[in-house]
């Protein structure tokens, strides 16, 4: 307890006398930033979860060139990949209220009038579009021989998809997916624009409240960096685990055998 107080006093001292950045104020509001980080992580995680769930069947339909579905899905992904996430969020949060039908429907009160749900819907649709496209690429890059072998074993289309095509495609899509996760995290700052208190929202609140220029944004920035480094680390571990067979061999195990007489 004593140590903590002396640390705070130390922070207060340097904030008032030395540093242009008020560390004391940041330390004082750290719990708010943690709550903001929770909102950010929650939105990112849920958007990725639902986006991933929707993207798998869409990508399969697109890779299989299902008539009718394929162009429709292409149109959806083209629309969401070709326009800014900010405008998509605005369209859902502000735009839908233009229609009386929407305002009077049962969805309005709990869902479409709440910024949290609107942001989640926009993020989910956005990440679904991106994930669908690179998952489709990954599915198409599954070697033909694997599929032929599975057919020769007598597997049905569904079994083939479940046991051969999708596991291979998921592995191949892993590096691209780490980018998508980081992009979704970065995109989640848009939540702060529609009044949510995510990490950036807390930063903006702090700066507005105490009339500051740096502190809130800098703290949010550090938090985002920590989260991104955590995600990158996790994906590196996952790639070691699931793409281990593609890694260059670290030490040559054949060497002793060739030199032995």
């Amino acid at each position: 307890m004593d140590d903590e107080r002396s640390l705070l006093q130390y922070l207060q001292h340097i904030s008032e006398n030395v540093s242009p950045v008020d560390f004391y104020l940041i330390a004082d509001n750290l719990d708010r930033f943690l709550a903001g980080a929770l909102v950010t992580l929650q939105l990112t995680f849920l958007a990725l979860l639902f986006g991933g769930l929707f993207a798998v069947p869409l990508a399969v339909a697109r890779a299989a060139r299902t008539p009718g579905l394929n162009p429709a899905i292409w149109g959806f992904t083209y629309l969401f990949r070709g326009t800014p996430l900010l405008v998509q969020t605005y369209l859902i949060y502000y735009g839908l209220g233009q229609f009386a039908v929407v305002r009077e429907s049962f969805l309005w009160d709990p869902i479409l009038s709440s910024p949290w749900w609107c942001v989640l819907i926009a993020f989910t649709l956005n990440t679904t579009a991106y994930t669908t496209e690179f998952l489709r690429g990954a599915i198409l890059s599954v070697p033909n021989g694997e599929i032929e072998a599975a057919r020769a074993c007598g597997m049905s289309w569904w079994t083939r998809l479940r046991l051969v095509v999708l596991p291979g495609a998921f592995r191949r899509a892993l590096p691209a997916y780490s980018n998508e996760v980081i992009f979704t995290l970065h995109g989640s700052v848009i939540a702060s624009v529609v009044t949510l208190q995510d990490l950036l929202g807390v930063g903006r609140w702090l700066n507005g409240r105490y009339y500051l220029a740096y502190e809130g944004y800098l703290t949010a920035m550090v938090f985002y960096m920590i989260i991104v480094f955590g995600i990158t680390r996790l994906f590196r571990l996952a790639e070691r685990r699931y793409l281990g067979h593609l890694r260059p061999r670290e030490h040559d195990e054949l060497l002793p055998m060739t030199t032995s007489p």
């Binding site: 800014p84 900010l86 605005y90 740096y214 480094f229």
Partner: protein, 229 residues
């Protein structure tokens, strides 16, 4: 729909702001990207470290956070320095300039990675051969590295440009009267936000579709004589 057409000129003005913002930031980002890529590939350890910090920092922080930091913090910093040195009075940083600087700064880091990869994709032997032929550094870059680098960098560059165009929407948050800002204010006053925002979506789709077309043409031009895998 008719209301949107009535506000056509405002939307066009906003589109002009958005496009010029995107093009100017692209120019800045290419300059910064070339600089950072050459820093990262340089033999100086300090240079590599600076390049690495810049690229890693920018790519791990969301663009809107950096934009607000540069717009609000940068303004405070400029005025703080002005107050300390007495060299200039209160400066009001223009949103357009802040937007160009921020987007250029952010996408410079992405461009740096694209350019670095493109330069590394050129076999080292070509550089050595050019030096052995007696070319100086400038000639090597202009005649050997640059033409091939452009080809290798084009796919990444196209991607960066498309992301950049979409990021320009964020400047409306710091108050620049771009396409999104104009559409939202027009939509608010007419109570037709959905129609106006749909128009914005269509305009953005047109911009991305046109640039996609142009970039594909450019790609074909620069890949002339190269086998496609």
């Amino acid at each position: 729909m008719n209301t949107v057409l009535e506000y056509k000129s405002i939307l066009m003005q906003g589109t002009l702001v958005t496009v010029s913002l995107a093009v100017l930031s692209l120019l800045l980002s290419v300059l910064l990207g070339l600089l950072a890529a050459s820093l990262k590939l340089s033999s100086s350890r300090m240079g590599r470290r600076i390049g690495n910090v810049y690229v890693t920092l920018v790519r791990s922080v969301p663009d809107l956070v950096l934009m607000m930091l540069i717009f609000y913090g940068g303004q405070a910093l400029v005025n703080h320095l002005g107050g300390l040195t007495g060299w200039w009075d209160y400066v009001d940083l223009n949103q357009f300039i802040a937007g160009v600087l921020t987007l250029g700064f952010i996408f410079g880091a992405y461009m740096a990675e694209t350019f670095r990869g493109a330069i590394l994709a050129i076999p080292a032997g070509q550089h050595e051969a050019a030096v052995a032929c007696g070319m100086n550094r400038c000639q090597v870059f202009r005649l050997v590295t640059w033409p091939q680098m452009v080809r290798h960098a084009l796919p990444g560059f196209s991607n960066n440009w498309l992301v950049l165009v979409k990021s320009t929407a964020l400047v409306s948050v710091i108050g620049l009267h771009d396409l999104v800002w104009n559409a939202v204010s027009a939509g608010r006053s007419t109570q037709q936000l959905f129609s106006f925002l749909s128009a914005v979506l269509i305009i953005y789709l047109c911009i991305t579709a046109i640039s996609d077309l142009c970039l594909r043409k450019l790609d074909r031009r620069f890949s002339a004589g190269v086998e496609r895998g």
